[in-house]
Symmetry: C2
Subunit: 316 residues, 2 copies
């Protein structure tokens, strides 16, 4: 099959990558659409030392595997867990120490014609949800993860730092829990979309750190943490969504002095995201910047890496 | 009065520092004993840009001020709050943005013959608690603050990093909530004291980071945070007690990947600490390394600054 393969040095479009196999607990999906995420770009800079087919955002049709799934249009949770450890038994397979992660750790991903996914990770896509919406299930689930970890109250002043793809999704999700959400970013054209949805937006250059109850750091940059610390009130909560792999110089003293709680937040389960897409309570398609055929995958990845790029998709 | 005065450049024993005044809401205390804390030593390196009389740990007798307090032996909470703001109205005067802090921010401290403390900050010391115990009320309250912020369950594996004064207190407090507390440090002679109390101890050199449910970082060093991140399990809680003012190089990615919650933790209220001292559920006097008269205050501060020093006290 055709696949975008990362060998640790070079990303290449392999025309004859081995097609993965299905079995009684693993489904083979024909990928319809896959999304390029900043994590993919970080992997190309060495993150996770991953080798193989990139990609963890996707929607596809099951073509082989468990009979009851074949023919269904589905999305797949990306953490392939052991199912037996103490994390798995508490429903936290996404923290299973033995896990493989689609396109990130020990499992080939979705920038390919086919991808293999454990059937227990799959969720059917409601008919009312288009492929272009369904491909956002994974990043949207990551945004919903926040409200699975901390309680947002309707009176809370919530601030989202970063108008990248994840920031735009987080702001919309948080708005379902508090009307007092502000998103701060550097790009007027990105913020405009949320402004049209009736949300408060601010350009970083015109903005002064407030004393927010909850701050979500989704800038993807090393400077975001410092800004977030300045913007959260004493005893407030700072949610970290950016996986900034590089070390950078920080003082943690303000966290201690102001007794701030910092919550690291990564992947989420899919049902709340699929429900929000079906109900149109979160709007995702304006985040699509361009759709490339898989054959132009290298160009697509280069496009996704441009500063300020929104979501770039690959059609298999 | 005699006082240890820090002018930003030099610490000196001033024989004629102005004695503070009492009024209807502020008591004047004749200091009996004061404790030297690592924060005092940090102030001498520039922390908080404080100027004036150092010291925030103390026990003393009220000699002037509200009539009902005069003659009582008391300890004083160190945050002098406005009493009117949103933090004060929620009982969080220690986060009042207008607060002064004894010997740390805008208020003279306890390394003196006399100290002025708002009467609402004062708590009487039970007769069964000696001066040498009562002077630990403030750091012990800081240790109890942890259990006011997070819930420790009896099944939790709890790890305390650092066998300094605060680490030794934190470990004892946490042991009241879970029997599974281990303290890790560099000094066998300090750990021995907790070992005698039946606690699990480990020398850092012989120790491998576990996957603890709760890790308390009380090393006071920049390397402590990295060790703490390695020692906490996914979805676990890391409590930061060290105020390490200096910036240092860190990667926060493990917090995101493992969805760790980091809780900054500073000062606490005094009642739980006074109760623990009265009940002898926490043992503090073995932490006393030496008691100096205030007249030898400069020597005492130098002693407190020696690597590995335990609690050095000043008797006024």
């Amino acid at each position: 099959m055709r696949a975008l393969n990362w060998n640790g040095k070079e990303l290449s479009l392999d025309p004859a990558y081995p097609t993965p196999a299905a079995d009684k607990s693993t489904a083979l999906l024909r990928v319809r659409l896959a999304g390029i995420c900043s994590t993919d770009l970080q992997i190309l800079r060495g993150y996770m030392e991953f080798r193989g087919v990139l990609g963890h955002e996707m929607v596809g049709d099951v073509v082989e595997g468990p009979r009851e799934l074949v023919g269904k249009r589905m999305v797949g949770e990306i953490n392939f867990a052991c199912g037996r450890c103490s994390f798995c038994s508490r429903g936290l397979g996404r923290h299973c120490p033995e896990r493989r992660v689609m396109g990130i750790l020990g499992a080939d991903g979705s920038f390919a014609e086919y991808v293999a996914v454990p059937s227990e990770n799959l969720h059917p896509v409601p008919d009312s949800v288009s492929d272009e919406e369904a491909v956002f299930t994974e990043p949207l689930a990551a945004a919903f993860e926040i409200v699975g970890q901390i309680e947002i109250e309707a009176a809370d002043d919530v601030l989202v730092l970063g108008d990248g793809k994840l920031g735009l999704l987080c702001a919309q999700v948080l708005r379902l829990f508090s009307p007092h959400v502000t998103i701060v970013g550097k790009h007027e054209h990105k913020l405009k979309f949320l402004k049209r949805l009736g949300m408060r937006t601010a350009l970083l250059s015109d903005w002064k750190p407030p004393q927010a109850d909850v701050v979500v750091e989704a800038t993807g940059s090393t400077s975001g943490f410092k800004t977030a610390v300045e913007a959260v009130r004493p005893r407030g909560t700072l949610v970290l969504k950016s996986t900034v792999a590089e070390s950078h110089s920080l003082s943690l003293a303000p966290l201690v002095i102001n007794e701030v709680t910092v919550v690291g937040s990564r992947c989420g389960v899919f049902p709340p995201a699929l429900e929000a897409l079906a109900q149109r309570s979160v709007i995702v398609t304006p985040l699509i910047e361009k759709v490339y055929p898989l054959a132009d995958g290298l160009e697509a990845v280069a496009h996704a890496g441009r500063p300020g790029a929104l979501k770039v998709l690959l059609r298999s």
